[in-house]
Symmetry: D2
């Protein structure tokens, strides 16, 4: 048992923290103002500038595992960095470490052929384009991935794609050039081999961005979550990822690191909320007493600290296990953090909101927006209930005979 | 003990429910679309039409207690009606029963002189204008009302008003013609006699609507919550409500019914969420089973039903006590519902969101928006913590010697 | 809606409260001491004296509905009285209103023939004997009553009874003369008509009291919860209650009022815990401050008050519905209180324990013992989970098509 | 970050687990039966036999840090072993690792002089005698240690000791030969230098064991928790530990490892409860379905697993910090586990009880007894509330200026 990060990680933590303080936090409000002034769905000049700065300082693509594209960090090394980025909602993109691009890049890295990598992975790694991942559908319960109805039919050298997808993050972004489409190629195959993933350039005819969806009132512009209709969209068969019938397997492989990243960012959000709360209650007075001296507020702070520490350790342990034994072996650990961490983030941020009073629910502080974001984590990549069921089943295995 | 509503109430419940089903629910989405099309801060034609319909059917000003302006309902009679209206976020305004107009009308009714009533109360009762109540300030913790810094200085026949207020609901609405300003007239008076309330027409020079604030990501247009700056705003001394030094007393009197209304509407929101959830889980399948047949979902439904029933009974009991013994005697009961009800609404709506999956957090269902609204109820009219402290102190009175 | 008890009830509340203060509370410790001195399973002289006093004052058999044996109270009238009795663990027996004797008396009243009534009901009503109800079995999950394995086989003019029962309250009591045995008479009948109930005198050969079970560490002497073995126990066929195959129906009928009584007593326990806590924190100092002035303690008190009020109202509403529409119509309401009330009692008592420090877990205060008792209420008469499932199903009925 | 135990620890874990399975679990019931047969306050022959076996296998005094008395384990190494012992309530004593003897041995090791060590520490290490620690007093809130009223007055070569202590674990045990008495020697000294600790042989005249206290009905015989009266008890001044005025400092030093031990044992109790629950639900059927296949039960299992993992990691981290930076630096971490771990244990065990039905609350399974034990952990060594206040204050330090 050794509860410290290695030197390499500590050094990156320090540099990232300094960058956040110098460049990210002070620009959060400016970023929103720019969107309001220039049009919420226009490309943000400020963001592109921040990206250049981060790239120059080598704080770029830190999520990337060891590969032909660079050194790479382990999950245990990356986790505390994702936490720091996650303290700001605009943080991850600044470092080219935002979902779903990171997951898509991993998919291309592991399952893309060289041509696909050259065409899509390289510009993504450079932060020149954005990508989206179209899986969730409005008409079926997506918590059961086998429900998917989108279909991919082979027609000579092409696939013809039809389907209605929603909650496609980055779907509203003008920089998004490529979609990974998940659909069924073979309805007669075994349940988990019916799905395939196909690369679909966003300018292919037949794609309609119907609308973007709000999250508790937030539009999450300029990336957004889109509802997209695919009508007879034709792409060459060479656009298949890995092979037909591999869609479910790719999706599973994509999820492990993605969930760890989500969780670490959520811990960052919780830490920031706790920090904001501590600052606020140290200043405000009611009925002749500092809020920080009130027992109820102290309980909020203590419980928040206790919960965050536990959530972080659990996440690091999951990262450790995934590094050492692989995604499959770490399945229970990953499911556990997926349930535990968003709940902690929600509790901590909610307490901070309460401590801020009405100021906490509005745009003046990154609390309500972080809360809304964390709330979606209880749904994306499988709702809590499905993960709890998996955990229980894995736990019960040893008892059944 | 008698757990049924009287005939008059039952009849109104039935008519209101029918109206909601015919006119309100089907127009919720259209209302938002109209705002998006015509400009979010423009007066909604649809709303004005709905108001006319409600007025014609006599479902109008039901909140109004017995007075020179009509028959009036008791709090126990009005409570179940407020619940029905509260099922839709656009419901209360349709029936001219929305906050803060109801509270302002009550203030004018009880503390306004005849001239003030003629000028402001009558058009408010007619739904011709809107009003706002400016109390909360950004720089002090408003949970302690004696913190208020806005000031009202007498200068001959006028008051000169200065202050910065925020969270002024209706402040962004073009139809809002009158503000009740709460400020201090005498810093040397006893703590609870320093405040006064003055009527300030919104077109008085010196008033600047600085911005409207979002709640989570919702702008709550076209009424909105404004930050308003009052700079040397001059109004005749006749605009005082009741008398100098009575501001705190008026504020207290205003809160009792207001809190009951808030709570009953929140129960309506919870009921609607439960209804939506039951509908949804009766239709959706995952892993070969209806969601409605899953134990975890059944627990959500059962707990929601249990919590809602209790919250409603507690609120009705508070209304009963207020009707029978008055606001002051019902102080503990009102504080109790203020703590208990929003918490129930938040829990129930949150479960519904979870049952809906991603659909639950967006604009397709009135869940996320109702959740955000209910979340603010833990802050407005005093945060939970202040009410809990009051309850405990009232409880402990009998033990101290 | 009318939230007050009638005069008759108020008068009984006052008299019961006075009796509790004069005779019951002051004797709680003496009662335990007497048991420790004279033998824990000996009949308590003190209890018999208290019973005589209560009988003399007419505070006797108040649970009894209107019948040939007297006037009787409605459930709404009796509920607040059960609450008062339930404040002390020795309270209910003093007034001949303790489980399971009350339930057994109701069964005899409704389903017994005249001979059975004369022989068993009359002495029970007089408090001369005790009775037990043998249903739960160690080897099957009793939450599903159809699991029962005890059997009753007709042999000429007799039934031959075999089975192993446990958690038979009163089973350890020397005054217990009669058992109601629930078993199966016909394994081929429809699922809910296989069971019958038979009266079995405790001195019938073949009955062995194997042991009494503890609840947490409490033996609940001298009544106790027994494990009882029935081996070829023979009773005349005239000992059947109602008829063969009616066991399940009788059990269902028995449960409605029983659950309301349990819940009201649990509310009494919670009220007493809150009272003890308020007293304690008003006296104790830590770090220079009264516990009663600490925010955290105040939250405990406020939340306790809020929860108790809601639980009581829900229970009274269930009683109201049962009085007016009958047990079956009130099925959902009864299930709701069965889930809600014990949880509230446990929370309130647990807070009181925490406020008392180590003193709270020992015999010096009736907190730990009341907690243990309330904890069993989440299991007896069906565990929470079964009730929640029932509530959800009843709720969902209106949505299915 | 390294999430595995070293080889030495793993080897001890394996041996301890084997010992528990062979000797401890199978004897839990026999131990209770022996007490019931031979007298609950008599020395248990079975326990003494088990102790000899553990000693022979070298599973003895594992709690002991590196010292003149042996090699010693670090806290991180010992923690998982304490967890295994804590799975059984009779486990820790078998390995001479039970509270309060471990804490007392540490006190003697660190603050005792050679004569005190020879006389008391050596027989304690040998398991020949037991010891007690008399600090808590019935008449003051012990959560504030400066409240203590017991006094120690110097009279020539002797101290004269007076005071009333309770919750003195081991106080009822015939093998207990020595008490550490905490009292005040100088009421005029600074607040935290008024207290001293003195060794008091249990056979000194003036000591009266007034009674033993129950914990939720459990007597915890034959060790017990005693109320002890000290009346003019005289001991030589050489019996002082360290020096006059050092009592508070010794108490603080005693608490760090003690709290880690408590927490690790509580995690063991939780693990055992989860194991028992999984076993039970894998066997029992209700309404035609295995309990293990029900969603609600699966949530209990999943949440239990999540909570236990987090609690264990937090405890190991606290142990790590204490090993590396010392007790004082680890103050926040130790306070955090003191709050977090008992809560987890209580939740997990409570779920197990619920899954077992009535069987869960009685003596047939080690659930109710473990629950009661864990409940006291929220009070001993300071109630949760005091620890939360400490955590918050330490957290807030960095924000105040």
């Amino acid at each position: 048992m050794y509860f410290e990060h290695n030197e390499k990680t500590k050094e990156l933590q320090a540099r990232l923290t300094a960058f956040m303080e110098e460049h990210v936090y002070p620009n959060e409000t400016r970023y929103e103002e720019e969107l309001n002034e220039n049009g919420r769905w226009e490309v943000s000049t400020l963001m592109e500038e921040l990206k250049q700065k981060a790239k120059k300082e080598g704080l770029w693509n830190l999520f990337l595992p060891k590969s032909e594209y660079g050194e790479g960090l382990t999950n245990v090394e990356y986790a505390p960095l994702a936490e720091i980025m996650g303290r700001s909602l605009i943080g991850p993109e600044v470092f080219n470490c935002n979902a779903p691009d990171t997951g898509n890049m991993e998919v291309l890295l592991h399952y893309g052929n060289q041509e696909q990598k050259d065409k899509w992975l390289v510009p993504l790694l450079n932060g020149e384009i954005r990508s989206c991942f179209t899986m969730t559908e409005p008409h079926v319960a997506s918590s059961d991935a086998t429900n998917i109805e989108g279909n991919i039919v082979r027609d000579g050298d092409h696939y013809v794609i039809n389907g209605r997808k929603w909650w496609t993050t980055n779907g509203g972004d003008k920089r998004t050039k490529i979609a990974i489409f998940m659909g069924k190629t073979d309805l007669t195959a075994p349940k988990h081999e019916q799905q395939s993933m196909v690369l679909v350039p966003m300018d292919t005819p037949g794609i309609t961005i119907k609308r973007t969806l709000s999250v508790f009132g937030y539009d999450h512009a300029p990336t957004g979550h889109a509802e997209i209709i695919f009508e007879n969209v034709r792409v060459p068969v060479s656009n298949i990822l890995w092979d037909e019938g591999k869609g479910f397997a790719i999706a599973q492989g994509r999820l492990g690191p993605g969930r760890i990243h989500h969780c670490m960012r959520a811990i960052g959000a919780a830490e920031r909320a706790l920090e904001l709360m501590c600052n606020r209650v140290s200043e405000r007075m009611t009925f002749g007493e500092r809020l920080a001296d009130r027992g109820v507020i102290q309980e909020w702070i203590a419980n928040s600290r206790i919960e965050i520490e536990q959530a972080r350790l659990l996440t690091l342990q999951a990262a450790y296990k995934m590094d050492k034994e692989g995604k499959k072996a770490a399945r229970k650990e990953i499911a556990m953090i997926k349930v535990a961490v968003p709940e902690v983030a929600l509790k901590v941020i909610d307490r901070a909101i309460q401590a801020f009073g009405a100021a906490g629910v509005c745009e003046d502080f990154p609390l309500a927006s972080h809360w809304a974001n964390s709330r979606t984590l209880r749904l994306v990549d499988g709702p809590d209930e499905v993960h709890r069921r998996d955990i229980a089943r894995l736990e019960l295995t040893q008892y059944q005979n």
